[in-house]
Symmetry: C2
Subunit: 253 residues, 2 copies
């Protein structure tokens, strides 16, 4: 992410990533780490979830590009959509590379993402921009949280995709400009941003409840099940970061 | 294009491109050629028309990706959409590079493309595939027709974008498969393909009537106006190529 509000984080590790990985998997490569079937299942889930997330984001950003007031705004959103598609390609190719059928890996996450997007179809251009920014930022926070829990090969891929995000900074400028021009817009968009975050959390929690291996890995690989409280703390860190970004954008709660 | 039905054309010049350029512009570079204000205006029109065409194609392919029956079909259409976006970027950057405001250059063509897409929204996945294939092929034929009439720099750009098309060959396979499985599908899709071509011609003729400089260049740069009959012949060559491709696809008229 190179958006103004968290640019300072990019050289240091984000708060969540300093937790040492309980399984010590971070020091291993994929071949070694994937000998553990639970770890392998978790990574396949993770790559499937990220891949479908990128494909769904592509589709929604392209759809939201229709709301653009000018051709150059439309081109900016199309550019973000295209970047998401290339992330999808990298994640899908990685799934194929480790011998997994990408479609099968993505299927379990289709309902959650489609549910999220269905519940959060923007009704105008500014809502679309806030959604693009919030989505990009939450994805970035999540990628960071999860990176420290991964073997070095998978971590390289996840951080590589992360490096290439941050296309949403133009959204920040446009939203700030709109709020400056009419401060009442800020109230409406603040409600919208809370709704986006609420819907994202609700869909994520559904995924956590459904996907044991993934959830276990997310909290550091406690072997016999996972600590729901730790998942809660992760969500809580992501929510806090979101709240700070929204405040910086002039969308205080 | 690398689609089966015209693969043989790719090393030789397409029929329309063997006409010698009446202005001799093909031997000049952009700096020399653009000293003629009418030529410059024609190229700005052309790049604007192609750029908006690519952006509109991006948007429609992304929209049509929603009709995909499987995730991998969706990804194929998303890939085509993303490729169109990158064509758009090259054409837009070229407009900026020659000191033109891309939005201004694209605006005159928005109505024609939007009109085309509005009149030809596919009602199902197969119609979407046929549209992707027909659109890609017509664009390719048109790029070839026009390339011979351009200065060497602009020609390089246009042929470069052309080289990178042909993502529609997967559409050919899918459509053939569907017709084999149920021959009645062929009749419906043949009607659809004719409607696509009819709508494309009708929108193109509107553009030709509106944009004098562009039309003059398209017919070889007759200085004092242009020969409508020659434009007609160009459309006729493109239509014939389309008819042959449709027949090869099992969509005879």
């Amino acid at each position: 992410m190179t958006t103004p509000d968290n640019a300072a984080d990019t050289s240091a590790e984000a708060p969540g990533t300093t937790t040492p990985a309980a399984t010590g998997v971070a020091a291993r490569d994929w071949d070694t780490a994937s000998a553990d079937p639970q770890y392998r299942a978790a990574v396949v889930d993770l790559l499937g979830a990220l891949a479908y997330g990128e494909l769904a984001a592509f589709e929604r950003l392209a759809e939201d590009a229709k709301l653009a007031p000018t051709l150059s705004d439309k081109a900016e959103l199309a550019k973000m959509a295209s970047a998401e598609f290339h992330h999808f390609e990298r994640l899908r190719d990685r799934l194929s590379g480790i011998g997994e059928e990408p479609t099968g890996a993505m299927e379990p996450f289709v309902a959650a993402y489609d549910g999220f997007h269905k519940q959060t179809a923007p009704s105008d251009w500014l809502e679309g921009l806030v959604k693009a920014y919030v989505g990009d930022s939450i994805a970035s926070d999540f990628y960071r949280e999860v990176a420290a829990r991964l073997d070095e090969d998978t971590r390289g891929l996840v951080l590589g995709v992360l490096d290439d995000t941050g296309h949403a900074s133009f959204a920040v400028e446009k939203v700030r400009g709109a709020i400056d021009a009419d401060p009442r817009v800020g109230g409406r968009l603040a409600l919208w941003a809370r709704r986006l975050m609420g819907e994202a959390l609700s869909q994520s929690q559904r995924v956590v409840a459904d996907r044991d291996a993934l959830s276990t890995m997310l909290v550091g690989g406690v072997a016999a099940g996972f600590d729901l409280a730790e998942v809660g703390r992760m969500f809580s860190r992501i929510t806090e970061a979101h709240t700070k970004r929204m405040a910086a954008l002039g969308l205080a709660a």
